[in-house]
């Protein structure tokens, strides 16, 4: 059935508005990253940079100030206000990557194991433990901020990757266990039953037969855990002290509330920081959307 021209025009007009709303802010921050502060402060703003430059990227990546950033007292608006926060973007990215990747790997293993048992096995305490895991997710993070700090301090884990990884596991597992349980529920048990008749143990059936089949669900789980760990802020602020463990949100939030920040450098740091999650989401797009459809659809 062909669409009427009027409807087509309307749909495209709405699409353009929606596209601007969705990616306009991103395009602007990218735009800003190719300008220096003196240009950013022009009124009205330059939608297309008049003097596009890679200096911000060079500065953040090499940490050697390019000539434009050389100290010049006459040029107050110039980028010499090199904020340390923005310059810490690369080490912070490294920390974020390590924490998020390890969280993702551990989350996938732990949640697949647990979800498989919840989905396939009848055992005493099954409903209670499942409800308990789900209910734990309802506790607001801020409500356990003080005890978390105390626990991490008692374990002598302040300012370490492990502290963040443990906390992020506790906060991501309820969702991923629920999600994987639902995912396993959709899978008919025939294949693994056949494998067990052929002499596989339950664990072997899971790793050799089931895991390859539910790989898309596992990818969605992993993506969810990674993105969550990468984004988390409250505990990252609370439990990190130095660049030994500070993650990207901590470093960038410090830049954001610093009124003396170089906007150009900080915008560049934001661009670098949002590339990994966007790439991640786009690469895993099919798994994420089909996984979500499965969990929320019929």
């Amino acid at each position: 059935m062909r669409m009427s021209t009027g409807k087509r025009v309307f749909l495209y007009a709405m699409s353009v508005i929606l596209a601007i709303w969705l990616i306009g802010p991103i395009l602007w921050i990218v735009d800003a990253s190719f300008q220096l502060d003196n240009e950013l402060f022009s009124i009205p703003p330059h939608w297309i940079p008049q003097k596009p430059t890679l200096d911000n990227y060079k500065y953040i990546i090499t940490r050697v100030p390019p000539p434009a950033y050389a100290y010049d007292p006459g040029q107050i608006q110039m980028g010499h206000k090199a904020s340390g926060e923005a310059l810490a973007a690369i080490p912070a990215l490294k920390n974020s990557f390590i924490v998020s990747t390890v969280t993702m790997a551990l989350n996938v293993v732990i949640s697949v194991l647990a979800a498989y048992a919840f989905s396939r096995l009848r055992f005493t305490g099954r409903n209670v433990s499942f409800s308990f895991i789900m209910l734990s997710r309802l506790i607001p993070a801020i409500a356990v901020a003080i005890p978390f700090f105390a626990i991490i301090q008692a374990l002598r884990l302040l300012d370490t990757y492990l502290a963040l990884i443990l906390v992020y596991l506790a906060f991501t597992l309820p969702f991923t266990i629920w999600f994987m349980t639902k995912y396993f529920d959709f899978m008919p048990p025939d294949l693994e039953d056949a494998a067990m008749v052929d002499g596989c143990t339950r664990f072997q059936a899971l790793t050799k037969v089931v895991v390859p089949i539910v790989a898309p669900g596992i990818a969605a789980t992993g993506a969810f855990a990674f993105l969550n760990a990468y984004s988390e802020f409250l505990f990252a602020v609370l439990l990190t002290k130095t660049m030994a463990s500070k993650t990207v949100p901590v470093v960038l939030s410090a830049a954001a509330i610093n009124f003396d920040v170089s906007y150009a450098l900080a915008s560049t740091a934001v661009v670098l920081a949002i590339i990994p999650p966007i790439a991640f989401a786009l690469i895993f797009r099919n798994y994420i959307t089909s996984g979500l459809s499965m969990a929320f659809g019929k």
């Binding site: 087509r8 749909l11 495209y12 709405m14 699409s15 929606l18 596209a19 969705l22 990616i23 802010p25 602007w28 800003a32 402060f41 009124i43 009205p44 703003p45 732990i110 949640s111 194991l113 647990a114 498989y116 919840f118 096995l121 009848r122 055992f123 005493t124 308990f132 895991i133 506790i139 607001p140 409500a143 356990v144 003080i146 005890p147 626990i151 443990l166 596991l169 506790a170 597992l173 339950r202 993105l227 984004s231 409250l234 990207v248 960038l252 939030s253 954001a256 509330i257 906007y263 934001v270 920081a273 949002i274 989401a281 786009l282 797009r285 979500l292 459809s293 929320f296 659809g297 019929k298």
Partner: protein, 296 residues
């Protein structure tokens, strides 16, 4: 032997869920007990070493503070606006994305971008978009001749609230739309044909076919977004700092500042306990409402 098989099944099941349970107990049950203990004693960081039992005094102190009521009201307002905005925009966008045309396929990719961006970074980007010095929103309004000098969005309580709402919706509506779209796609086409034969227009089709299908997903989204409203912390941190005055002091931010500016852990724990209780009651209410719904 049936008994042996059942025992093996139990052992396997317990071993499987053990790691998850251990981590969650360590980071939820224990913290709550710890919080209760803190809240029942005097515990001020400026006076270490002196922790007499004070009963419910911390709770009374917290509840007496008019700041709590104000921040609760601010949070309720904020939450109401984002829940309603999220549902309306989510449905409209999902309907647009469900149309069969090239634009929908492009948008289905673009819509993942705000969803993937960490809240802190979304907040920073919107903070700078609304800024009074480099803000492009000001620049845009100025170029159009709508304002003759840059406006300070963060200096006025109403517009400061607006900035938070805009950032929150930008970040949250995509997931709502994706989930609603997934639900839309399973609606059998015959139902629309039937609605057409019955002589209903587009609205009738939406009201009697589309909406009933969306309802269970909408209920889940309602819960998620309400909880989001009550725990929004990062956006306040990077965008408004709770101001001007306490116009954007949401509960999570209020709790954070109470703990870390007054360094009174006892009171902070009492406040945390009250907030956890509040969230739990709200969630229970939703589950109860959800249960009385007829789920398909």
């Amino acid at each position: 032997m049936a008994g042996g098989a059942a025992r093996r099944r139990h052992i396997y099941a317990y071993l499987s869920i053990l790691p998850a349970i251990v981590i969650i107990v360590l980071f939820t049950v224990y913290p709550i007990l710890y919080n209760v203990d803190l809240a029942l004693h005097k515990n001020v960081l400026t006076a270490p070493g002196s922790h007499p039992f004070t009963g419910l005094k911390n709770f009374a102190d917290v509840l007496k503070n008019p700041g709590l009521v104000r921040s609760f009201r601010t949070t309720a307002e904020f939450t109401a606006v984002i829940v309603v905005g999220n549902v309306i925009l989510g449905i409209l966008i999902a309907l647009l994305l469900n149309e069969k045309f090239f634009g929908a396929r492009v948008l289905q990719v673009l819509i993942l971008i705000p969803w993937a961006i960490p809240v802190v970074m979304a907040g920073i980007i919107w903070r700078w978009m609304f800024a009074g010095n480099i803000g492009v929103i000001n620049g845009f309004l100025y170029s159009l001749g709508l304002i003759d000098k840059y406006y300070s969005f963060f200096g006025n309580p109403a517009t400061a609230k607006l900035t938070l709402i805009v950032a929150r919706l930008w970040k949250d509506v995509p997931l709502t739309a994706i989930l609603l779209l997934a639900t839309l796609q399973v609606i059998p086409h015959e139902l629309y044909d039937a609605a057409k034969i019955d002589g209903g227009g587009a609205w009738a089709a939406f009201r009697y076919v589309t909406f009933p299908f969306l309802k269970p997903t909408l209920t889940v989204l309602l819960i998620l977004e309400t909880l989001t409203g009550f725990v929004t912390f990062d956006l306040v941190f990077v965008m408004t700092g709770g101001g001007p005055a306490d116009a954007t002091t949401l509960l999570a931010w209020y709790t954070y500042t109470e703990i870390f500016t007054h360094l009174n852990l006892g009171r902070g724990a009492a406040l945390a306990f009250i907030i956890a209780l509040l969230t739990l009651v709200m969630a229970m209410f939703y589950f109860w409402a959800l249960r009385s719904e007829e789920l398909y």
